[in-house]
Amino acid sequence: MNDFDSHWLTRPATIRKLWWGFSIVLALTVAAQLFVDVKGYFGVDGWFGFGAVFGFSSCLVMVLVAKVLGFFLKRSEDYYTSGDDDV
């Protein structure tokens, strides 16, 4: 198992590089808006970096909503199969 753990993709050094690469790509997609005109349909969606902010914040909201709902709706895996409550 240990020899597989040293797979190049899982090394901390590689993961650091991936984060760097990913961050640069993210920065580039926003910076590109200086040169490419994003023609928004409703004005606001043409603002600088709108896609980035909107994408990030809507994901944040969805994850948090899921977290809160999960607090009420999550049950143990055998919820339906344990006991005599179900077929």
């Binding site: 997609t29 969606d45 179900d86």
Partner: protein
């Protein structure tokens, strides 16, 4: 009667032959039947091909149109892809049932009247249940029963609507209508049950993940997408669909985020994707309907691809939970790569089929100035990347090292995955291949620099959100309650409570009321002489003398009363 072979019957014949052939012959049948069907589909001209009279109604088993051919094409392609994926692994009866199921979907596609439509609709319900049962576990058996109940109930509701429309309008033609009265509402409800619309969407995430690794590939393709076709044919521009669609979109994302079972994540994302299509049908413009049809076509390919990738993992490892999987990219690189292509396509990444089709729906919303709908769909696109685009490949193929070192997918599964991956990218790079076959002329350019940049920002920053919020998304060994809790638990408990109450009432009757009844019976016995040994008061034999005496007394009384 028919100048050409009806495509659904070819599939049914193929399904029969699967049962009686063996070995290579069966492989030939499995792979050849869908291709023959595909050929037959393209022989069907526009308009009604044949009419048969039944109970004074003209039955039109086959009616061609670009939209119908498009859906039938993807259904037969999917039967081929699914057949290729499973012909060496699945049992013959699963393949056979899956082919009749596909025949039902193709039959619905060409149904020119509501009666034919209903028959094929029910054929799908029956044989998809068999496919669920082919999961072979007790859980699959129970889920299959719940699935069957839901679909038969949906069928009854649909039938009520069809009867009503037939009687009140005198026509059973499949033609656009709006949900304005009881009949049309019933039809709409019956179709929406198959589209996994709220509040009954739970049948989908309940049953699909319980089927076999090969069965879920077939299940993912047909039922919900025939419902989308039915909505396009019967309810284009029905405003209520916009709200239902948006609900489905968000529901799918939230539940997929909470889920631990790999195929259940994908099942929730079917609801999410069908939500996009339902919403588009609700918008109802030519652009929107084109978008719904195109998205259904693309969705079937990438969702089947995702289910194939998940199925290969389950087939090789026997595990289906995120908490058990992880790190499989080491030994299943091809399955991982194909899964990632499917994940990118469902997320609508540029150069994949998701981008060229889903953005049409957003465009349609923008064209109609539906600001709220547009931004909800944009947020949902980000959410799709979150729950399916990254979550699925991340937890299955990367994440932690689970220690599992399975072999990569068998060659036929791999071939099917590569085929669908190629199609996903092909439709993304050359969207006109699909646009040419859409029901309305396409006036849409998917690739403009601004649009690509907007979606890249949207998606990549969703990716950032995923990795930053990863601690919040730690997988737990849980299930999430859904509306089906109402009938799986609440209704069950209520039934049990009512049963207990009735039993208690019975006992009370036996004791309290019973005692009273016994007392009355005893008294009656005394009066009427139920006992043979001693006659009752009114049943005794009296002597003549006593009778004469009573008559004298009564007559005296009468005379006295008369005189006085």
């Amino acid at each position: 009667m028919f100048e050409l072979l009806p495509p659904p019957l070819i599939m049914v014949a193929g399904a029969m032959l699967i049962g009686i052939t063996r070995g290579h012959w069966r492989s030939v049948i499995v792979l050849g039947t869908p291709l023959l069907t595909l050929w037959a589909i393209w022989q069907i001209p526009d308009g009604v091909v044949a009419t048969v009279d039944f109970l004074d109604y003209p039955i039109e088993p086959i009616e061609g149109s670009p939209l119908r051919r498009l859906f039938a094409t993807i259904f037969s392609l999917m039967a081929f892809g699914g057949g290729l994926y499973s012909f060496r692994q699945a049992r013959w009866y699963e393949l056979s049932a899956a082919f009749i199921y596909a025949a039902g979907a193709i039959g619905v596609s060409f149904a020119g009247d509501l009666i034919t439509f209903f028959l094929y609709w029910e054929l799908m319900a029956l044989f998809s249940t068999v496919v669920v049962w082919c999961g072979g576990t007790p859980e699959a058996g129970a889920a299959g029963v719940r699935y069957a109940i839901m679909h038969l109930l949906g069928g009854v509701i649909l039938k009520v609507g069809i009867e009503g429309v037939a009687i009140h309008t005198g026509s059973v033609d499949v033609r656009p209508m709006l949900a304005t009265n009881f009949d049309t509402w019933m039809i709409l409800a019956g179709i929406l049950i198959n589209a996994a619309a709220p509040p009954v969407s739970a049948w989908l995430s309940d049953s699909y993940p319980e089927s076999s690794p090969t069965g879920s590939v077939f299940l993912s393709a047909f039922t919900t997408k025939t419902a989308v076709l039915a909505l396009i044919l019967l309810f284009p521009g029905e405003p209520v669909l916009i709200g239902i669609g948006l609900f489905m979109v968000m529901y799918g994302i939230i539940y997929a985020l909470l889920e631990n079972d790999v195929r259940r994540i994908l099942a929730y994302s079917i609801v999410n994707q069908v939500g996009f299509m339902v919403c588009a049908v609700g918008i109802g413009t030519e652009m929107a309907l084109n978008g719904a049809a195109a998205h259904a076509f693309a969705h079937i390919l990438y969702k089947a691809l995702l289910f194939m990738s998940a199925g290969a993992v389950i087939y090789r490892t026997g595990f289906s939970k995120c908490t058990d999987l992880g790190g499989l990219f080491r030994t299943m690189p091809l399955t991982a790569a194909c899964g990632i292509v499917g994940a990118l396509a469902i997320s609508g990444f540029p150069l994949t089929s998701g981008f060229t089709t889903k953005t049409m729906i957003s465009q349609a919303a923008a064209d109609e100035s539906l600001v709220f709908v547009y931004f909800m769909l944009a947020a949902a696109s980000a959410g799709v990347f979150l729950h399916a685009g990254i979550k699925f490949p991340w937890f299955v193929f990367f994440q932690k090292d689970s220690g599992l070192r399975p072999k990569d997918a068998p060659w036929n599964m791999a071939a099917a995955m590569v085929l669908l991956s190629v199609l996903c990218i092909l439709l993304g790079v050359f969207p006109n291949l699909l646009y040419a076959y859409l029901p309305y002329p396409v006036d849409y350019v998917p690739y403009t620099a601004g649009k690509v940049l907007f979606y890249l920002q949207l998606l990549l920053f969703s990716g950032l959100a995923f990795f930053l919020l990863l601690p919040l998304m730690k997988r737990t060994r849980t299930v999430t309650l859904d509306f089906d809790w109402l009938w799986r638990v609440l209704l069950f408990r209520m039934a049990r409570a009512i049963y207990a109450a009735v039993a208690a009432l019975g006992m009370a009757l036996k004791t309290r009321v019973g005692n009273g009844l016994v007392a009355i019976r005893v008294r009656a016995g005394i009066l009427f002489g139920a006992e043979l040994t001693q006659a009752g008061v009114f049943a005794r034999t009296w002597s003549i003398g006593t009778t004469a005496l009573w008559i004298v007394v009564l007559l005296t009384a009468y005379v006295l009363v008369y005189v006085l």
